[in-house]
Amino acid sequence: MTQASTVIIGIGNRYRGDDALGCIVAAELGSMSLPGVRCIEHDGEPAALIESWQGVEQVVLIDAVSSGAAAGTVRHFDLAKQALPEEFNLYSTHAFGVPQAVELARALDKLPPQIAFVGVEGECFDAGVELSAAVRQAKDIVIAEILNSLSLGMGTHA
């Protein structure tokens, strides 16, 4: 299999309402078979996450967040330049999740050259397989943004 130069990583849980956002975005982009782009759904396990972007030029992480903003708000961070802010410290097991994986990779010089984080403020993380209306709308915006930035040959803006 040819090594993809771009990896889109959708993080989340498909059975916890808006937490499925990242998985759904990755699946929809994956169904488009974009050249040089690999799309994966991920549970956020740190060792596997760091492994998933080794040797890759560009990574886009997409995840639902709970930072107190209005539901559906889309936030962008250029992780090559900055850590995720404190309020984006996502739910994780043993206090070791996505932000820690990113910072660990930075300390070990294992971050890809380009790595962007797209966070969508969730409204409901209860058990269920439906996105809330606000997040469903944001999902389409995120997909359009990523497609646009890929066509321009750059990561999502930060």
Partner: protein, 435 residues
């Protein structure tokens, strides 16, 4: 945070770091005497036992595995064995070996996370693994590589590394072909080196000089280092079947914590479950090279210093890698991936060895296979009173130190147990919507 008032010092840790879930510690010191210790778990309870009532017996493994993202296999295994016990079924041969292989994956993954990411920073003087990685990148990379091997096993056998979905009452939904295990074998051969280095490295760490006369409780099988089955034994004479657990142990409500304290009957004494207990009670079941590695790392046949639990965990990782290789080398795929299990009205009992220690499940089911009663006792509930006892004995040995140093050491003493507060409370962020 520490406060001082009228000769009384209070040290409070409002939020324990590098443990799973939300817990706090309260130490009250009068003069130079430690007057009170409270390990508070303020996660609300999750009521999994109630949730299970009325569900089909085959659903218990996947429902209970959601209690913990770190040790889901343990919950699956205890639930599966308890249901098979209720239905009078025994699963053997290749299916039993595959269960053992899956458990090896969880031990490797869970122990390695704790050794490298959560516990090692304590010994090397860092606030987190990220800080530690800046100065010790090779050590942290070794931990990540080793953890990934555990993930690989869980992925292959369980379908995914967190909350695997392939284990079922009676066996597996799908058993792997022999050829599917060949890549894993190569990975495990490399991992054996990493695991052996880990044992050596943990032996070089500096440990506080502190020992306790523990009552160790663990499974003992007699033919193998225990994972899925065995009798529940202690170093103080206990030797019972899982079905007798409730006669010898009881859970108690304690006002300041949401997790039940489990104690030994009749005196209500605390006891120790986990790697140190397994090791002390099953040292003779470890292969000789692994026994030698443990002794060379500085622990005896019994380790009574809880701070050295990091060495014991490393020894168990080495064993789990070795055992996974043994299972793969002797693997012949089963004719069927599972056997049929027909429910009957009965109560089933099982205890298996989760990474953090003994995990007991008891279920009553009716003739149609619906669950009528459930009880789950996770390792952290069993260790909670033991952790307090460690603190009660350990903190006075460092009373001359400044409060921030006492706090640091006390937190380290708690992390000796790799406590999983989510498991202890079956934690869930609870929202009450009243109208």
């Amino acid at each position: 945070m520490s406060t001082s008032h009228g000769g009384t010092r209070t040290i409070k840790v409002d939020y324990l770091a590098r443990v799973e879930g939300e817990g706090a510690l309260y130490l009250k010191v009068r003069g130079n005497v430690l007057e009170d210790v409270k390990l508070k778990i303020f996660e609300p309870p999750r009521f999994f036992e109630s949730l299970l009532r009325g569900r089909d017996f085959r659903e218990a493994p996947d429902i209970t595995s959601r209690i913990c993202g770190i040790c889901p296999v343990a919950y699956q295994m205890s639930a599966i064995h308890a249901m098979e016990d209720a239905c009078g079924v025994r699963v053997d041969g290749a299916l039993r070996q595959l269960r053992r292989l899956l458990y090896c994956g969880e031990w490797i993954s869970s122990h390695t996370l704790h050794i490298y990411m959560l516990h090692a920073p304590d010994f090397l003087g860092y606030a987190s693994a990220v800080e530690m990685a800046k100065d010790h990148p090779a050590i942290v990379e070794r931990g990540l590589a080793l953890k990934k091997v555990g993930n690989d096993i869980m992925n292959l056998l369980g379908g995914r590394e967190i909350h695997p979905i392939n284990a079922k009452v009676g066996g597996f939904y799908r058993a792997p072909a022999r050829s599917e295990l060949s890549d894993l074998r190569e990975t495990l051969l490399r991992a054996r080196e990493l695991a052996a280095e880990t044992v050596k490295w943990t032996g070089t760490l500096e440990f506080p000089n502190f020992e306790q006369d523990y009552t160790f409780v663990a499974l003992r099988h007699g033919d193998e280092y225990p994972m899925n089955e065995g009798r529940i034994v202690s170093n103080k004479g206990l030797d019972i079947a899982a079905s007798e657990y409730d006669d010898h142990f009881e859970e108690q409500h304690v006002a300041y914590t949401n997790a039940l304290h489990c104690v030994m009957k009749p005196e209500g004494t605390c006891y120790h479950v986990g790697p140190m207990a397994r090791y002390a009670l099953n040292y003779d079941q470890l292969p000789h090279p692994i026994q030698d590695a443990a002794l060379a790392a500085g622990i005896g046949r019994v380790c009574n210093n809880p701070f050295q639990s990091i060495i014991v965990r490393a020894v168990e990782v080495l064993y789990a890698v070795d055992e996974a290789l043994r299972v793969i080398d002797s693997y012949a795929p089963p004719e069927q991936s599972s056997i049929t299990v027909v429910p009957k009205a009965a109560t089933g009992y099982a205890a298996t060895e989760a990474p953090r220690g003994l995990l007991y499940h008891r279920y009553a089911i009716d003739q149609g296979g619906l669950i009528t009663d459930a009880n789950i006792v996770p390792p952290t509930s069993q260790n909670q009173k033991m952790i307090e006892d460690d603190l009660r004995c350990f903190v006075p040995t460092c009373m001359h130190k400044p409060d921030d140093e006492i706090q640091y050491l006390a937190e380290q003493a708690i992390r000796n147990y790799d406590p999983c507060i989510s498991c202890a409370t079956h934690f869930l962020k609870l929202e009450v919507d009243r109208r």
